[in-house]
Symmetry: C2
Subunit: 209 residues, 2 copies
C-alpha cells in the first residue's frame, strides 16, 4: 500500500525509474493534502466561542472534506493499480493474429479503466475546491494561509489528474468514449477553476495581498 509507506519512502518510489507510482498517484496525494489543509482550518474554527455562529456550517464542511480526503487516499492506490493493468496488457503475447487482437482489446480496456481513475481523482479534487470558499471565508482567519494552501494543493491535484486523463485518451481508439471523457473533463475543470478563483479572492483579501 502506497499510503502506508513513509513520506520519504513514497517520494523515493515516485522518483524511481518505474511507470508506477506516477502522476496519477501524485494527483491523489495533492488532492488529499488540499482536503487535509481545509480540514485543519475547520478544526481550528470548531469549538471556539468566537466562531460559534459558523460552528454548524464548519462541522458540515469538515465531515464532507474528511470523506473526500479518505477517497483521495484510496485513489492514490487505485491509480497505480489501474495503470499496472495497462502495463500487464502490453506484455501479452502477440505471435498470432488472435493474440494480437486479444492484446489490443486488453490494452484498450485497460486504458479506459486507467482513464476513469484519474477522472474520479479530478472530480474529487473539484468537490474539495467547491468547499473551499466557505471554509476560507468563514473559518478562523489566523489560518487563512493554510486554507489558501489547501486551495492550491487541491487545484494542483485537479490539474495533475487532468494530465493523466489526457495522456490515456491520446491512446484510446474509441472516439465516442474519448469525446465523452473530454467533455466531462472540461466541465469539471471549469467548475474547479471557478471555485478556486472564488476561494483565492477571499484568501488574497484576508491576507491583504
Amino acid at each position: 500500500m502506497l499510503t502506508t509507506l513513509t513520506v520519504q519512502q513514497f517520494l523515493t518510489e515516485l522518483a524511481k525509474g518505474s511507470a508506477t507510482p506516477g502522476g496519477g498517484s501524485a494527483a491523489g496525494l495533492a488532492g488529499a493534502q488540499g482536503a487535509a489543509l481545509l480540514a485543519m482550518v475547520c478544526n481550528l474554527t470548531i469549538g471556539r466561542k468566537k466562531y460559534a455562529e459558523v460552528e454548524t456550517e464548519m462541522q458540515a464542511a469538515l465531515d464532507r472534506v474528511e470523506r473526500l480526503r479518505l477517497r483521495l487516499m484510496e485513489l492514490i492506490e487505485e491509480d497505480t493499480r489501474a495503470f499496472d493493468g495497462v502495463m500487464a496488457a502490453y506484455k501479452l503475447p502477440k505471435d498470432t493474429p488472435e493474440q494480437k487482437a486479444a492484446r489490443s482489446a486488453a490494452i484498450q480496456a485497460g486504458l479506459k479503466e486507467a482513464t476513469r481513475t484519474p477522472m474520479e481523482t479530478l472530480k474529487t479534487c473539484v468537490d474539495v475546491l467547491e468547499l473551499a470558499p466557505t471554509v476560507v471565508s468563514k473559518g478562523n482567519p489566523n489560518v487563512v494561509s493554510d486554507g489558501g494552501a489547501g486551495v492550491l494543493s487541491a487545484h494542483a491535484g485537479m490539474m495533475i489528474a487532468a494530465l493523466n486523463v489526457r495522456i490515456n485518451l491520446n491512446a484510446i481508439k474509441d472516439e465516442d468514449f474519448v469525446a465523452e471523457q473530454k467533455a466531462e473533463m472540461d466541465a469539471l475543470i471549469a467548475r474547479g477553476d471557478a471555485a478556486k478563483a472564488q476561494a483565492w479572492a477571499i484568501v488574497a483579501e484576508r491576507l491583504g495581498m
Copy 2:
C-alpha cells in the same frame, strides 16, 4: 519526524486542529513531490539506447533534482520547527513591562526565522522548476504527463510557500526586513512562473493539448 510518518499519518496530522504541521510543511511536500516526478522522468530516460544523446544532460538534471528533493524533505520538518518557535514565544509571560518587551522581541525574532524557512522552500521549488524545461523537452516522451505533474507540483509548492512568507511578513514590524523579503519573494516567483510557462508549453505540445 514528519517524513518518517506514513503518508496516511502525515495527512492526518495536517488535518488536525493544531497550528503545525500546516501550509509550510505542505509546501515542502508539494515541492518534493515535484522534484520526485522530474527525477522519475530522468530515470525513465537514462540508460536507454534511444535517448543516449541526452544521457549526460539527464544524469546532471537527475543529480541536481534529487539534491533539491532531499532539501525539500528537510524543509518539511524545518518549517514546523520554525513555527513551533513562534508559538513558544507567544506563550512567554507578559506580566511586567520587561517581560512584555522580551516576549515581543522573541515573537519578532521567531517570525523572522519562520519567514526564512518558507522563503528557502520557495527558492528550492523555483530551482526545481528551472530544471523542468530540460527534463520535459529532452526526457522520455512516454512519461511527459509525469513531467507535467512535476511542474504543477513544484509550482504549487512555490505558491504555498509564498502564502506562508506573506502571513508571517504581515506580523513583522521591521519594515526594512519586510520590504527586502517581499522583493526577494517577488523576484523568485517571477523566475518560477517563467520556468513553469516554458515547461508547460513543452508538455502541452507533446501531449497535443
